[in-house]
Amino acid sequence: MKSTLITNSDDPLNAPRPLLEVRKISCNYGLERAVFDLSLTVHRGEQVCLLGPSGCGKTTVLRAIAGFHPLLTGEICINDQQVSAVGAMVPPEARRVGMVFQDHALFPHLSVRQNVASGLRLFSAREQKSAVDDMLDRMGLSRHAEKYPHELSGGQQQRVALARALAPKPLLLLMDEPFSNLDQELREHMGQEVSDMLKENGITCVMVTHDQNDAFALGDHVAVMADGAIIQWDTPYNLYHQPCTHFVADFIGNGIFLAGIISTPTRVATSLGDLESDTDLKMTVDASIEVLIRPDDVVHDPDGPIRAKVERRAFKGAQIMYTLRTAEGITLLALFPSHANFEISDEVSVRLAVDHLVVFERESEA
């Protein structure tokens, strides 16, 4: 088999056969091309996130995997069986794929028990009951079995939706922005809970979200998408610390880009002083570049070389995010512990503490 563009296994020879293979697919959304030559491989028991701004084509990919969206090029295989190709589609009901929706899509006229049982109609009544009971128990919904969806809280509806999708024991679970209808606190809690549950049960899952926190909570690997293509496929840690493009660096986390020039293969000259890298930057000397400076790279130090004025402050509890403006007119984002409490227009001294430099070629300024 030809190796796919993106693999998530370090050793292709020892890796088991992937459960889901998306090979070079393209799709239209309406009349416009929404997905370009996209490939994706997901192994059994792995949780993968498609992360990107709205309109980047991530939902279209999910719909294509579920069998709701036709392909213009490429193919999709689930469990070594081709389910989608150009002009040929296995209908969604025959794919053994479970899906959880943004609005939960619970059937309002059915009780929780009936909702969870909806995917089990080919089972005998006894099997159905035990499967539903088991599922409700695992989700902590046993007390609510006879209630109707509108009587449940958002988090409970979320669990019912998950239970309904998982009850028929699908090969693959798809989730479309599953947490975006929940409020912030519940969202983090549910993200953790669902992640634990999926891991415990070894469920393979592809989730789509525009929220990086959701993606980081759930994804073993995260695919950052833009304009119908995957820009970077990596672990959450690497996405934050080693973004491969300006777009990813900008999209994930906060930070600013500091203009500079490569002075040696491991050294960058900027208006805020020279920065040393722990690895070879693999850039030609004298190239115009920009360096990613994360807010946690800017350290409060009374003896620091950089003097800046506080322009804005955002209190975040344990920490405060400051927007600083240096004498050179450069804007920095800085995350200080709450003890370092400054008011707007206060003068602050900082230094840059960056070990691993993330450097991009500077785009010609328009």
């Binding site: 719909r63 969604p92 009901e93």
Partner: protein, 531 residues
């Protein structure tokens, strides 16, 4: 299809009647129609908008009741209210009798009394029963207006009246225009009233030329002229609806509208303004009809009458069932495939409601008659037998007309209830192992049952009321309630017609009640979704 038939037939039809028509009556017809439409347009606008504004923006005693009382006249077909008022206001009627008694007048020469059977009378009658279209749409437009915008306007120093005229009214303009154009379509459709009042509109002319002079071609030609009006009205409506979408971006959060508390004289005035259309448009005609029906009960409650009721109910029920089935089929396949051709087909199919019944009748009869003649000729030639009339002049033609005319209502209802079912619901059912058809039966039908029932009800009642198409297409000696009422009324036997009229009104009340319940329910769900 009927529309195309009308056009073709009109073009190829006998020219002599056309020239004759142009020379004599046509301009009269057009002129009368224009005056009638203008009059009805103005009166429904004033009545509908003022009533809608009062019940949504002001608080006065009885407001809650008026909110749905104002819908009641919708239940009365224009021809029925016309019959009722003719009886009420005629020389021997209660009004003139009491006037004579009060002032000691003896005969007609002693005083002047306006003749209700005139153009003005027709405008008044139609205005009274058609204003609810404007009222309904204006009311929901006012309700959906963002409270914040209104409050902002008050903050910027505009008083209640200036806020109304500079903010509320312009923002509701598209909705009001839709309401007025619907009322005008009904005006164009009306035959019973104008015939009874001897107001020669195009519809009256069409029926006259067809039934009186026996010229289907002449009828088709008038129908073509009417289609010009129809096209203009449709354009007005479609354009307004497009604006309506822009203007009415209802905020998802429900806030009670800021209400102007009215007291004393102002409250009295508000009650009067709201009560007037209800009393004149519903209470008086119903009382008049009830009295007549009571007096003439023995003479009208005959086996024939029961047959007419049965005919009406059976026809209307069949039409409702067919229309609903087609609507469900088309709407669901659109949901599944969403093609451009299907979308276009739906739009064409739903134009039927704008085409006046009389025009539709011509359009149906022409191709049906051609079909019958062809079959008949073929059979005679080869088998020597006559097939007679297969389609035209049968109940099937009437049924077909009903379905074409009221399909739009069924489509609209079914589509909007389907739209409320989130598309992810479909996907959920599919990923759970159900095929598209199973999804429809197991999940969609239970969810849209309410909307389907409402649609069936409205189509049913509209069929019961429909007069011109029934009159023109029905088989010989076949009567429905509407034609029965019409025939007695044309013979000036209003007493005998009253029981039938009252029955139509009674049936017509069902969708009005449904409608008002639906309105109060949307308010509740809006309120519930806010928390």
């Amino acid at each position: 299809m009927p529309v195309i038939a009308v056009l073709l037939f009109a073009l190829g039809g006998s020219g002599d009647i056309w020239t004759h028509l142009v020379e004599t009556a046509l301009f009269g017809y057009v002129e009368t129609t224009l005056w009638l439409m203008l009059g009805v347009g103005v009166s429904v606008f004033i009545t509908g908008v003022s009533a809608a504004w009062l019940v949504t923006m002001c608080r006065f005693p009885g407001r809650k009741i008026f909110e749905w009382l104002l819908l009641l006249p919708l239940a009365i077909p224009a021809y029925v209210i016309a019959y009722a008022y003719t009886d009420f206001l005629e020389f021997a009627g209660p009004v003139q009798r009491s006037l004579r008694a009060a002032f000691g007048w003896e005969s007609m020469q002693d005083y002047w009394f306006p003749n209700i059977r005139s153009l003005g009378g027709a405008i008044l009658m139609m205005g009274l029963v058609l204003y609810p279209y404007v009222y309904l749409l204006a009311r929901s437009a006012f309700l959906e207006q963002s409270v914040n915008v209104l409050e902002a306007s008050r903050m910027l120093g505009r008083g209640p009246w200036r806020t109304f005229s500079t903010v509320s009214l312009p923002a509701a303009r598209p909705a009001i225009a839709v309401g007025v154009s619907l009322a005008l379509m009904e005006t164009l459709n009306d035959y019973g009233t104008v015939d009874f009042f001897a107001v020669y509109t195009m519809t009256a002319g069409l029926v006259d030329v067809w039934l009186g002079m026996g010229s289907l071609a002449g009828g088709a030609q008038i129908a073509t002229t009417m289609l010009v009006f129809v096209v203009l009205l449709i354009m007005l409506e479609r354009m307004s609806r497009r604006h309506q979408k822009l203007y009415q971006q209802a905020s998802s959060r429900y806030k009670p509208l800021p209400a102007y508390q009215l007291g004393g004289l102002k409250a009295g005035a508000a009650v009067t303004v709201c009560a007037l259309p209800v009393v004149a448009g519903f209470l008086i005609p119903v009382l008049v009809l009830a009295r007549l029906a009571f007096i003439y009960f023995d003479r009208s409650w005959t086996p024939d009458f029961q047959l007419y009721v049965f005919n009406s109910v059976a026809l209307s029920a069949a039409a409702a069932a067919i229309a609903l089935t087609i609507a469900l089929f088309v709407a669901y396949s659109r949901r599944l495939h969403g093609g451009k051709i299907l979308a276009f087909a739906t739009r064409v199919a739903t134009l039927g409601y704008a085409v006046p019944g009389a025009v539709l009748a011509v359009g149906i009869l022409v191709p049906f008659a051609a079909f019958d003649n062809t079959v008949d000729a073929l059979l005679r030639k080869y088998l020597g037998i006559s097939s007679g009339l297969l389609l035209s002049g049968t109940v099937a033609a009437v049924l077909f007309a009903y379905v074409v005319r009221f399909l739009a209502i069924a489509m609209g209802q079914v589509e909007s209830s389907l739209e409320k079912v989130s598309p992810s619901m479909d996907m959920a059912a599919r990923t759970l192992g159900y095929r598209a058809g199973q999804t429809l039966v197991r999940y969609h039908l239970p969810l849209i049952r309410g909307g389907m029932l409402t649609a069936a009800m409205i189509v049913f009642v509209d069929c019961m009321k429909e007069l011109p198409a029934t009159l023109l297409l029905r088989p010989f000696n076949f009567d429905t309630l509407a034609t029965h009422v019409y025939e007695f009324a044309s013979d000036e036997m209003l007493g005998e017609a009253s029981l039938g009229s009252l029955t139509i009104v009674g049936v017509g009340l069902i969708p009005v009640v449904l409608l008002s319940r639906m309105i109060s329910r949307t308010r509740q769900t809006l309120g519930a979704s806010a928390d």
